[in-house]
């Protein structure tokens, strides 16, 4: 069972605060982290490998620094990690990202399952997984919360929908995105850590994956960002003062007056 896991390095937004005076981001202390949802994808890949044998290959499109994240992936059980890094990938939207990941998957060739996170916390679109599936022409299932069985070239999975759970069967290869409920990602093992220290992370460029220049980077993107701005947080709360009983009474009156309740 060969599994490809798509990981993205994202800015950890824990410490992000807006400077109220300049209305810009205070960026001190933002470090790059593995997209939290992608850790579940990786853990699931490693568990499947442990159960069925085979190999987990992690791919990520990003800047050279993302190699560190890929080493981390090796420390928790990935067998191989490939960094897709090239100036030609700059400016990619989800369409171009999915095209790039798709070409990498084609080069890897032998895969039975591709696992993505349900969404990133920076792009936050959840589009790359389904677009990747379509590029490769293989089935897609979103928000998988449990892989029940894999046998005879098919898998049976569970996923949460708005009003319950669905059990779905799909032929392999396929692309899935996983929900947080699927597992609890492990910590790196000592063996994993030593393996990751010596690991070499190959870098594939646009030429290496034989990507058509019109499908990658900004040229391959459907969407273009024309403007970026900070949301205006000008609304200052109307503070309701007084002793608690007065506060409670005033609040309820205001809500009734404004016909909110």
């Amino acid at each position: 069972m060969n599994i490809v896991v798509c990981l993205k390095q994202v800015p950890g937004t824990t410490e992000v605060k807006i400077d109220p005076n300049t209305n810009t981001l205070i960026r001190q202390g933002i470090k790059a982290i593995v997209n939290p949802f992608d850790s579940y994808a990786l853990e699931e890949g490693v568990r499947l490998k442990e159960k069925f044998g085979g190999k987990v290959t992690v791919i990520s499109m990003g800047p050279p620094q993302a190699a560190d994240m890929l080493k981390e992936a090796i420390s928790v059980g990935a067998d191989e990690a490939i960094l897709l890094s090239d100036m030609a990938f700059a400016g990619s939207d989800t369409l171009a990202t999915a095209a790039t990941l798709g070409k990498a998957a084609e080069k890897i060739k032998t895969y039975d399952l591709i696992i993505c996170g349900r969404q990133t916390i920076d792009g936050d679109t959840g589009q790359v997984g389904p677009e990747l599936a379509e590029n490769l022409g293989i089935p897609f299932i979103a928000y998988v919360s449990k892989i029940e069985e894999i046998a005879n070239g098919k898998m049976r999975v569970q996923r949460a929908v708005e009003d319950g759970y669905e059990t779905i069967e799909s032929p392999l290869p396929a692309v899935i995105t996983v929900a947080k409920e699927i597992n609890v990602p492990r910590m790196p093992s000592l063996r994993g850590l030593s393996k990751s220290r010596s690991a070499q992370i190959p870098v594939w460029t646009a030429n290496d994956i034989a990507a058509d220049k019109a499908t990658i980077g900004q040229a391959g993107s459907g969407t273009w960002v024309v403007k970026v701005f900070y949301p205006q947080r000008i609304q200052h709360a109307e503070m309701i003062k007084g002793e608690p009983p007065v506060q409670a009474k005033t609040l309820v009156e205001k809500l009734r007056e404004a016909k909110i309740i």
Partner: protein, 394 residues
């Protein structure tokens, strides 16, 4: 193509450094140093540079979209024959867009025995394309993807919108990928650049800290998803005559590779946070799980749903289905009451578009007050029961 710096002109003033929303610029040896990877060529630095030292060249549109794309479409999602409100909300917005573009507004509804099709025309659709077949009794995606792609290729709409529901977020990107066009997720603003007749799509990014305006200049259709409750549903005072057009299709395409084997309704999960008009959320300020009772009592008095910040979920005080925020649910109720919640960006990303926000917190500096409509500084253990009582007595 790309971004470049004219070192001669760069004075190292740092305007670009603070303008870059993604922190890709640093001043090294009095010159700007730009990390190109991660840059989406948004142009914030170029605008900020006083000496025009930063140049951004975008690839010219390789394809000019033909003039043969017309009309605004809304994919009106149904589940079990019930049309989702988000479709109506999008039609109300779509009506504005279509009027600005002086074009027609159409709804596409795919399902079986769908009830209440008239509401789509009541919200402004000039035409409703309806596909009705038992094959669409469930939401196996493949046939939906195939049919929507076929209709788009056939009728060539310039804009297609869908709700960012779990189904929409999963099937719509596949449609965009097949059509090789751009798709902007979770838009909070849609309008028309009347000069270029392009759809301007605005959405939060970077955990809601930064807003981006996005266009799709060279491919068609222009596609966006919008979360439920972002736009308001408006019934037309005089609805258009609104034709309902039953579309024929080829049954052969209706095979789905994935098969739905079983569906189990989840009866325990009654929290319909996304649909609630009023939400009362509790945070770490509650101190211990038993104190969620205060939140439940207030919610009961208001007929509200109960939400939570993440630490309470992580501590196991309340199930994950109640979590609001970037890694939980996005909500947009009429009224959101945040009790003992500090207002971390990740929490605000999930609730900041609520119509009215009330913050109850003992720390006057808590960031939640920046986005609140009404703020109460004080001890939640005193105030919340008093509010509940006040509501019961009124």
């Amino acid at each position: 193509m790309g971004i470049s710096l004219d070192k001669e002109n760069c004075t190292g003033c740092g305007s670009c450094e603070s303008a870059c929303p993604f922190g890709l610029i640093t001043i090294i040896d009095d010159k700007a140093s730009i990390k190109v990877e991660g840059c989406n060529l948004c142009g914030a630095c170029q605008d900020a540079c006083p000496t025009e030292a930063i140049k951004i060249e975008k690839a010219m549109a390789t394809v000019t979209p033909g003039n043969d794309y017309h009309g605004v479409w809304v994919f009106a999602e149904q589940r079990n024959g019930e049309i989702k409100t988000v479709g109506c909300e999008l039609l109300s917005k779509g009506r504005e867009l279509a009027d600005t573009l002086k074009t027609e507004l159409c709804a596409v509804c795919i399902g079986h025995n769908v009830k209440g099709i008239e509401q789509l025309t009541a919200c402004g659709a000039d035409k409703v394309y309806l596909i009705d077949d038992p094959a669409f009794s469930n939401q196996s995606e493949d046939p939906y993807v195939a049919e929507l792609v076929r209709l788009i290729k056939l009728y060539k709409p310039e804009i297609v919108l869908a709700g960012a529901t779990p189904f929409g977020r999963s099937f719509f990107p596949r449609v965009a990928a097949i059509l090789k066009t751009g798709l902007t997720a979770d838009c909070t603003g849609l309008d028309i650049d009347t000069e270029k007749n392009l759809l301007r799509q605005t959405r939060p990014t970077f955990g809601g800290n930064v807003m981006a305006t996005i266009i799709c200049p060279s491919r068609r259709p222009q596609m966006s998803t919008v979360r439920p409750r972002v736009f308001k549903k408006k019934l037309m005072p005089v609805p258009p005559a609104g034709k309902i057009i039953k579309v024929d299709f080829d049954k052969a395409v209706l095979t789905s590779r994935t098969k739905l084997l079983n569906f189990v309704a989840d009866l325990t999960e009654k929290v319909k946070l996304e649909d609630a008009d009023i939400i009362v959320s509790g945070g770490r300020g509650l101190g211990k799980p038993e104190n969620f009772q205060l939140i439940r009592e207030l919610a009961a008095a208001l007929g509200a749903a109960v939400g939570s910040s993440r630490p309470c979920v992580d501590e196991g005080w309340i199930p994950y289905s109640h979590q609001v925020g970037q890694t939980g649910k996005t909500v947009c109720p009429k009224l959101y009451i945040a009790v003992g919640i500090s207002g971390a960006v990740q929490h605000m990303a999930g609730m900041q578009t609520s119509d009215c926000i009330i913050a109850i917190n003992d720390d006057p500096e808590a960031p939640i007050f920046q986005i609140a409509t009404y703020g109460i500084v004080g001890d939640l253990f005193k105030i919340v029961p008093l509010i509940t009582e006040q509501l019961k007595n009124g």
